[in-house]
């Protein structure tokens, strides 16, 4: 069992006006695949480096199985990190690179060779053991780096932007490989990414980090359905936001009164923000809706294959909605349409 627990972690660097990592606490269960998501410079790689021990934190604690990692030197933590640019040692061949961690453990040569062979098969690169890193493609280097990291059976695997240096088609392949291997070896894995799509596709849970602060730690689904604040919602592709107020239990927005019945209704401030994802908005030329509907004018239509995106102006607000292209041909620009915001798809946020 290797539960990773980060508590009240702080780290500042000289010359920065805010802490690089500001009071981050997280609980990660054994065997999980976790993403640290955030824009570049938000402190996610710094947290990884503190888990490996390459930087000491200013304060706070990191524990693995209830044992603090901080007094343990990097090489004895059993935490392996794969860096963004793979960092295969250039003057060693692939076999020597992959076997490096075992050699450091003092294992004998025959055994290392056997394990290296197995590991290279696991990452589907069985025949390149004698090549030099320079002779490998980016995707191959990434796999070798992964094999090198996993060979010593680490308690924790850390991946820094594992897919960002790869071409689009290699990315899908690599993503599948990471998930397969992670499940097969059941190693707790944390990866860092700035790409929300990557995080959603790979991770069981996502820690969203802005400006060194943890915004929330939740499943990908929750980020889509119930984001914690406007910034988080925007990061996950949210575009529709309505300023809204509560008056006598009624919710009044910029475009008119709404029914709202989500579980956080009683926690909302009197001034708050409502959001709804474009694909959850329904539109129609004739009014077939009973509640939460408004009339507006179509200002633009963008066809993008499966879906068509409409921008609809209601009062001074423009809402984006995305509708399946099939069977929606009758709406055209400047038409008056009725827009329905389903009660269970609207989400309110305090900031």
């Amino acid at each position: 069992m290797s539960d990773l627990k980060i508590s009240n972690l702080f780290k500042s660097f000289p010359g920065m006006d805010r802490p690089a990592v500001n009071n981050v606490s997280l609980d990660i269960k054994t065997g999980g695949l976790i993403a640290f998501l955030g824009p570049s410079g938000c402190g996610k790689t710094t947290i990884l480096k503190m888990i490996t021990g390459l930087f000491p934190p200013d304060s706070g604690d990191i524990t693995l199985n209830n044992e603090s990692l901080l007094p343990i030197p990097t090489e004895k933590r059993g935490v392996v990190m794969v860096f963004q640019n793979y960092l295969l040692f250039p003057y060693m061949n692939v076999n020597e690179n992959v076997g490096f961690a075992l050699k450091m453990k003092g294992m004998d040569k025959g055994e290392i060779d056997k394990k290296v062979k197995d590991m290279l098969e696991l990452v589907k690169l069985p025949d390149i053991g004698n090549r030099r890193p320079k002779q490998l493609s980016g995707g191959q280097q990434q796999r070798v780096a992964l094999a090198r990291a996993l060979i010593s059976k680490p308690r924790l695997l850390l991946l820094d932007e594992p897919l960002s240096n790869l071409d689009a088609h290699l990315r899908d392949e690599m993503r599948e490989l990471i998930v397969t291997i992670q499940q097969k070896l059941n190693v707790t894995t944390v990866f860092v990414t700035h790409d929300q799509e990557e995080a959603v596709l790979l991770a069981d849970n996502i820690a969203l980090i802005f400006d060194g602060e943890l915004q929330s730690f939740a499943s990908p689904k929750e980020y889509y359905e119930s984001p914690i604040n406007e910034r988080a919602a925007r990061f996950f592709g949210g575009v529709n936001f309505l300023k809204s107020t509560i008056k006598n239990q009624e919710i009044d927005t910029e475009i008119g009164a709404l029914n709202y019945n989500q579980k956080n209704k009683k926690d909302l401030n009197s001034n708050h923000l409502l959001t709804i994802r474009p694909e959850n908005i329904k539109i129609s030329k004739t009014n077939t809706f009973k509640e939460n509907y408004f009339s507006g004018i179509v200002t633009s239509i963008i066809f993008s294959g499966t879906n068509t995106r409409y921008k609809i102006k209601i009062k001074d607000i423009i809402l984006d909605c995305s509708v399946q292209s099939v069977g929606n041909k009758e709406i055209s620009k400047n038409d008056q349409v009725f827009v329905h915001l389903p009660e269970d798809k609207i989400w309110g946020m305090n900031d």
């Binding site: 490996t52 021990g53 390459l54 990097t74 640019n85 960092l87 250039p90």
Partner: protein, 287 residues
């Protein structure tokens, strides 16, 4: 490019090389000749007399292995000077690299306030003429008891050497990615093995170039050795100058050949590190 032009260029390079080598040829002829005077285009007779007088080669009739060993073990001035020059050169090379390593790492990897000023101060010995600082230094060295001592000479040789070594090694670290070390650490290598297995191979080519500079700068140091050594520490350049002022061209030529010999040998063995293809000045950056 047009082939004729290419050929002309190559000939121009040969001509340049020839002009550079010409004085050396004259040296060689002079060192192995006997009474080579003006109107003669080539010397009348070849002779090893200059080498005998330098006490590097025994007199005729004694030129057996034992003869050589006996002569050299009698510790003539030239052997003393050679031993001194080599030991001082090796010591200051090793010391300068050990001192420069952490400095170059910081200068190459980090940016901080006054970095340019610090670099300027560090390279100032290459700008200032040695006479400008050595006299002042000598007063201190006398009061510290370093004057006229072997270690005093080693210490003062570090002054002109450090700029070359630090700057060369800063160049390596400027393109060096310390994450390679971090990677090795997370894979279970302790600090010592990380340095030995990861850092050292990456900076080795650059260190060879730095060592080359260090040794050659020390090897050719005249003024500093002369003043700080107070005439007690005889090195090869000192011997070259005193021999040259004696006015015997054959003798001067012979000792000059001894003087340039290590430079040629070192360059020959290290030229692959100094060429543009080498990672000497780029660390892992180019790999």
């Amino acid at each position: 490019m047009d082939t004729n032009l290419k050929k002309t260029n190559i000939y121009a390079i040969y001509l340049g090389a020839f002009i550079l080598i010409l004085p050396l040829i004259a040296f060689f002829i002079n060192a192995f000749s006997f009474r080579w005077f003006y109107p003669q285009l080539i010397p009348k007779e070849l002779s090893l007399q200059a080498w005998v007088r330098l006490k590097l080669i025994p007199k005729e009739g004694l030129r057996s292995l034992d003869g050589f060993i006996d002569l050299w073990l009698s510790n003539p001035a030239i052997i003393k000077a050679l031993v001194n020059s080599v030991t001082i050169g090796v010591i200051v090379t090793i010391v300068s690299i050990i001192i420069a390593l952490p400095a170059a790492r910081v200068l190459g990897l980090l940016n901080f306030r006054f970095k340019k000023l610090i670099i300027f101060i560090m390279i100032s010995p290459t700008i200032l003429p040695p006479i400008a600082f050595v006299l002042g230094l000598n007063i201190n060295f006398i009061s510290w008891g370093f004057s006229g001592s072997f270690w005093g000479v080693c210490l003062v040789h570090l002054v002109p050497i450090m700029p070359y070594v630090v700057l060369t090694m800063t160049g390596i670290f400027a393109n060096y990615n310390p994450d390679f070390e971090h990677q090795a650490r997370t894979l279970g290598a302790n600090k010592f093995r990380t340095f030995y297995l990861i850092t050292l191979p990456a900076i080795a080519p650059g260190m060879v170039v730095a060592a080359l500079f260090a040794f050659l700068v020390s090897w050719s140091q005249y003024l500093l050795t002369f003043l700080i050594g107070a005439g007690k520490i005889m090195t090869l350049p000192l011997l070259v100058f005193s021999t040259a002022s004696s006015g015997n061209p054959a003798l001067t030529a012979a000792i000059s050949i001894v003087f340039i010999f290590p430079a040629i040998v070192i360059l020959f063995f290290t030229s692959k590190f100094v060429s543009g293809d080498s990672s000497a000045t780029s660390g892992f950056g180019k790999l």
